[in-house]
Symmetry: C2
């Protein structure tokens, strides 16, 4: 059965994220899936635009951090549903926000090729899910990262939305 990307299960109110929201027309709209060949790992692909520059010819670190962030929270949510033996479109909703983000820039990431962002559940501690990640380009790992994703009640998300702009 063909997989649906994790982010495509997000309800509309979670789908405006600049990094991965399908409803953000200006954003990156990354799509994460479990790797068919290695189902312990999730994978997303992204081709940076030419203006996503660090120094000419290399990809901007802030973009790489963004990819680690969104692929990490997506993987955390997917892992939580998988752990519960449930599809991502079932209730009650399991929502995750980023608690912290760490990125190590191992070497410059060349501009041009499609980047492969990979993730794996490292640890589950209560409401926190730690995802370890790495970015591969031309077969070389240029970035390693870690996201601590925090599960938040959907009600809290609703309260945040209700309080926005107040």
């Amino acid at each position: 059965m063909e997989q649906i990307p994790f982010q495509d299960y997000y309800p509309d109110h979670m789908a405006h994220c600049y990094g991965c929201g399908r409803l953000n027309e200006f954003g990156h709209q990354i799509k994460s899936l479990w790797d068919d060949k290695n189902p312990d790992e999730s994978v997303a692909y992204f081709t940076p635009k030419s203006h996503h520059t660090a120094i000419p010819g290399y990809v901007y670190g802030g973009l790489l951090a963004s990819l680690i962030d969104c692929h990490g929270t997506g993987t955390a949510a997917a892992a939580a549903y998988r752990e519960a033996g449930r599809s991502m479109d079932t209730e009650p909703a399991l929502r995750f926000l980023t608690g912290s983000l760490h990125v190590d820039y191992l070497k410059p990431t060349p501009m041009g090729p499609t980047l492969e962002i990979r993730g794996k559940v490292k640890e589950v501690k209560g409401r926190k899910v730690v995802i370890e990640e790495w970015i591969v380009v031309n077969g070389v790992i240029t970035v390693r990262g870690e996201v601590v994703a925090v599960q938040v009640p959907d009600q809290l998300v609703q309260e945040l939305l209700d309080n926005a702009g107040k």
Copy 2:
């Protein structure tokens, strides 16, 4: 004497960064300065665009990470010149790239107000300069971060530029 932003001292080949390059017309072009009132701290201001969304009404964590990144490397470079008692336009050049980035999202960052990104030198270890940072919005710290900036010889930067796309 009016300060010139750290990033405006960067030579053209370092001025294409999506986060802070003055020559990147699509980028954020952040500008960092020492705080006149508290010269141990650097400060930059940035107003997110409406599409830099996490959930509606709140700023995207990847953007916040980008601001921490660029303000951190800028502050590291400025601190290195200051330590040497030199202006940032003097030779030999002191160039910094991001070695690692850590961001803690303490609370959601509301969309709308201008963000204040602050930085301070935490530690200098050989070629590494550690900058601690925080983001303030409406008087509240919503994000804390840390950048390890690594000084790289200008020759290495030139080699990277020469090898780009090969």
